[in-house]
Symmetry: C2
Subunit: 213 residues, 2 copies
């Protein structure tokens, strides 16, 4: 059965999933990379970015799990890039170079129409201007029975959570303080939405928790 999942989402001690002031130099906001330090050494991450080797173990298991059985992604505009407002041209094609790590259709939420972009390696970016429900309908169709992963950022995950559309959330509780930025769960009553913590396992870098219904 096709599920809607959030995976490999870092959460700081003080509740943020991205730092403030996202920019070309700080895709995760200032300090935001500290949320993801658990993933950088993993074999999954290293291979995804063209490297060899990398660590196996708990962190890698979760990194790999986040890509298994995913047939389509949904991203918020800010996760796609730092460009705001109407697209000035077609130059920006995501943070990830010519061959992005998705390899499936990716639906980008935006208020500003843009033609789809076919990238190398099977990734196609589609731009959806009529809201989160339409994006999910299109993503589910594209996923052909596989899962749809909500890739982020935090504001996009919050919208899907609050609409009751998410089946499972994997968070990596990271030993970092951001002080400000984008909160993930603040003001969202997860138990009222049916979630409980059904699994937790720690690595030396993070405590992984799985929230499901």
């Amino acid at each position: 059965m096709s599920r809607v999942i959030v995976s490999c989402f870092g959460l700081s001690i003080d509740g943020f999933s991205a730092g403030p002031d996202q920019s070309l130099d700080n895709p995760l906001g200032v300090g935001g990379t500290t949320l993801m330090e658990w993933v950088f050494p993993t074999r999954t991450f290293q291979r995804m970015h063209g490297g060899g080797g990398g660590d196996t173990g708990v962190d890698d298991d979760f990194a790999a799990r986040g890509f298994a059985n995913v047939g389509a992604w949904i991203l918020g505009r800010n996760m796609f890039g730092p460009v705001r407002g109407p697209w000035p041209d077609d130059e920006w094609k995501g943070w990830w170079g010519t061959n992005p790590p998705y390899h499936v259709p990716v639906f980008v939420l935006t208020d500003h129409p843009r033609a789809s972009i076919e990238m190398e390696g099977g990734t196609t970016f589609h731009f959806v201007t009529d809201g989160i429900h339409t994006a999910l309908t299109r993503a589910k169709a594209a996923a052909q029975g596989q899962d749809v992963r909500i890739g982020g950022g935090p504001a996009t995950v919050r919208q899907y959570l609050q609409a009751g559309l998410v089946d499972e959330v994997h968070l990596a509780l990271s030993p970092t303080l951001l002080g400000s930025g984008e909160p993930l769960l603040t003001g969202i009553d997860m138990p009222a939405l049916g979630f409980r913590c059904t699994r937790h396992v720690a690595s030396p870098h993070a405590m992984h928790v799985v929230l499901s219904k």
Copy 2:
């Protein structure tokens, strides 16, 4: 040197350090005991409550550390008890029976004056009606060079953090969702207060993080 510390403070995935609706039956609020499941099996906790045995290891190390070199405590009114408003009589003497686990002077913040209560085992409850600074001055004097531990609840810890009076915070990030209750760090910029995460270590029950300056 006498420090001001917060120790063994549970924090849920969604940022709460106590559940909602504290009462006689739910001293930590509804669901709040799930924040402390890491501590119940420890040798330190078991001994403190008259039991034998108990587990050693990471969780016990942190539980014991929270009582080492503590010369005085400060508690908020709600951590002392569920009674609100003026004290109806002298009947309520804390949640902990005739021999509380403090064994040193304990300063209770309240708007309502009350005579000090000497308990068995060296604990004396003093009631402070003129604010957190006075309570800290009195606690430091009573601690005679040892540390002052801010015992809670969350609102009391927040007040001392926001006033810049805390030197170290140990949190146990607990794999639980509360949905509502008393947030601990929401709206407090810990890095701006000088804190960073200086240590983290996980047990099967929680990820312990130490925030210091």
